[in-house]
């Protein structure tokens, strides 16, 4: 096993051509160390799933190269497949089969000896807490149960590298935490994990290192602590009367760099730290701005994202979910939603 089980260099994937060219992934460089949980954070359509599909051999790169578990994804695809576990978006599981039948099928597809199939299936069912539901059809499972079964299926052959594409999207908080615990446990046992997510908390909680991707480019990469430290000042969020917004913005700009925020809220990175809050309130009072809301936040990954891209991730996922539908298409050459020619990154002010 290589000490850097996932490497990509200048990985590119385009869909379509001419006016309809979509640059879904446009030069992604990654190096995931053995035993790491690596978070791939970005909004819908950013290129996360397309990158994962290339790394898991489901899509051919347009340019660049990648190795997984020491094997080239383009020229040694079957060796890659034998080494990795994959749980794709949407937990695509045959609803007509039972959990146990699916595990048996998956074991055969990985060439596991028949004598070991049942014991391995039982072990995994117990591991993900589905022993009692093993003989029920998957169509009767809840979303959380499907995700857990999906995880079990991806582990059937004891992979050294695990790809989880938005593993907790759509799950309730309890199911999400259960899955997080299982991912941590797998990682403690030595599995290298690359997970994509659009949830800041998930990346913050789980990942040893995070890469932020936007419009097909990695815009920032590091440990969550490093990334947050890079943002520096805490963010002060202020909401005032709409008609005083412009004046309030000018006031806030005196205290630090303005930061992108949700509609109707102003944000500033307080260069002088929390002690300046009083001065800000006083200055706003002087221009007659009535403060409706005031909130001081330590830097978060959302601040990192905003700093790197010029827009926020938090709240964007719900707005973008309507266009989600799988950014990578279904491997039939169909293009994801993002149009061609979107800038490398939004302006960093």
């Amino acid at each position: 096993m290589t000490s850097t089980p996932i490497i990509s260099e200048g990985l590119v994937r385009h869909f379509g051509s001419g006016d309809k060219l979509v640059k879904a992934v446009d030069g992604v460089d990654l190096a995931v160390a053995e035993g790491e949980i690596f978070g791939f954070l970005g909004p819908n359509g950013a290129g996360k799933s397309t990158t994962v599909r290339m790394l898991t051999t489901l899509l051919r790169p347009t340019a660049g190269r990648a190795t997984v578990a020491g094997f080239d994804v383009a020229t040694q695809a079957n060796d890659v497949r034998r080494s990795i576990g994959v749980a794709l978006q949407d937990a695509a599981i045959d609803p007509l089969m039972t959990g146990r039948e699916l595990l048996d099928l998956q074991a055969v597809l990985y060439g596991i000896a028949p004598s070991a199939v049942k014991a391995r299936g039982d072990e995994l069912l117990e591991r993900v807490g589905l022993t009692g539901a093993a003989d029920r059809r998957v169509g009767t499972y809840s979303g959380g149960m499907r995700r857990r079964l999906d995880l079990a299926l991806s582990l059937i052959h004891q992979p050294t590298v695990l790809f989880l594409d938005e593993p907790t999207t759509g799950l309730d908080p309890m199911s999400r935490i259960t899955l997080w615990e299982e991912v941590r446990r797998l990682n403690r046992e030595g599995t290298t994990v690359l997970l994509t997510t659009q949830y800041l908390e998930e990346a913050d909680q789980l990942a040893d290192r995070v890469a932020i991707i936007d419009h097909g480019h990695i815009v920032s990469q590091g440990t969550p602590a490093e990334l947050k430290a890079g943002v520096g000042a805490p963010t002060l969020l202020v909401r005032v009367d709409v008609e005083r917004n412009d004046a309030a913005r000018d006031v806030l700009a005196r205290f630090g760099e303005l930061r992108p925020t949700a509609e109707g809220t102003l944000g500033v990175g307080l260069e002088g730290g929390p002690s300046q809050v009083t001065a800000v309130v006083r200055a706003l009072d002087e221009i007659g701005a009535h403060v409706h809301h005031l909130e001081l936040n330590e830097p978060s990954l959302d601040d990192v994202f905003a700093e790197a891209t010029g827009h926020r991730l938090e709240g964007a996922e719900s707005a973008a979910s309507g266009e989600a539908g799988g950014e990578a298409g279904r491997g039939d050459g169909s293009a994801p939603a993002a149009p061609a020619g979107r800038g490398r990154r939004r302006s960093r002010r």
Binding site: T57, L58, R81, L109, G111, R330
Partner: protein, 272 residues
């Protein structure tokens, strides 16, 4: 979530693993058919309905010049019922493959190191198994109503085998369409075309009683020969020619359709 650890003993890659994978995929296809009775019942009921309707409406047509010597119109209808039922069933199989593509299960399979051909052959084996079941089902259901199989028990076995080959042959076309389009609606949309092809064949009347364009189309329509192979065993008896007709025609169709589906699979994989 807790468990002991099982040490895996992977099988060495080879022909045994390939067969095991193909068989596992076949089992999945057959299970899917067995677990969706509402989806497969029409393919069992409608051909019987048409056979009953034809017998009650056209029973006296058996005395027309050119009509083969039969005990009843039902004897003549059996072959058409078998092929008609298998057409219905094959669309179901193709639709299931397209649904796998639409829902992402196909990608799950492609993410494993399993043979791509096994994925396709497993689906076609399911179509073959269902085709065999349908052929036997129609034969056994219609015997109490007066159908006689002149070729006897061996004839019933050959008809069953012919059903399997027809299921695989027509299933190859619907699988090709599923792989080409990735759309279950497109595959379902092929049914009227298949039905028209069956209508312009000797499934419902002998070619000798037809005239004009209808007869010309039936003469060049492979469906006619598909039906007539089985019909020969039903109304004439066990001859080498009828056995060959019942088996070789669907086998030849299968060679073409499986070739097309393999090409469609290759195209889908290459488009990634």
């Amino acid at each position: 979530m807790s468990a002991a650890t099982v040490t895996l003993v992977p099988s060495a890659p080879g022909r045994g693993v390939w067969w095991a994978q193909t068989w596992a995929m076949s089992k999945r296809s057959i299970l899917a058919i067995a677990r969706q009775p509402a989806l497969v019942m029409p393919s069992l009921i409608f051909p019987l309905f048409f056979a009953a309707l034809g017998t009650s409406s056209f029973g006296k047509a058996t005395v027309l010049p050119g009509f083969p010597r039969v005990n009843s119109f039902l004897d003549f209808s059996l072959a058409g019922s078998v092929v008609q039922g298998v057409l219905f069933g094959s669309v179901t199989g193709g639709t299931a493959l397209a649904t796998d593509i639409e829902l992402g299960f196909f990608d799950r399979l492609l993410a494993t190191p399993t043979s791509r051909v096994s994925i396709l052959l497993g689906r076609l084996a399911g179509a073959a198994a269902f085709g065999a079941f349908q052929a036997l089902f129609f034969t056994l259901v219609l015997i109490p109503f007066g159908v006689t199989i002149e070729a006897g028990l061996v004839g019933v076995l050959v008809i069953t085998l012919s059903g399997a080959l027809t299921g695989m042959g027509i299933g190859g076309f619907t699988a090709a369409m599923a792989l080409k389009t990735g759309s279950s609606e497109a595959v379902q949309g092929s049914f009227p075309l298949l039905f028209i092809a069956l209508f312009f064949s000797s499934a419902f009347f002998p070619r000798q009683t037809m005239q004009g364009v209808y007869r010309h189309v039936a003469n060049v329509n492979p469906m006619s020969y598909l039906v007539e192979g089985v019909r020969g065993l039903t109304i004439d008896g066990l001859t080498l020619g009828h056995v060959a007709g019942a088996l070789l025609v669907p086998a030849a169709i299968g060679v073409v359709s499986i070739g097309l589906s393999l090409r469609a699979l290759s195209g889908r994989l290459a488009a990634r």
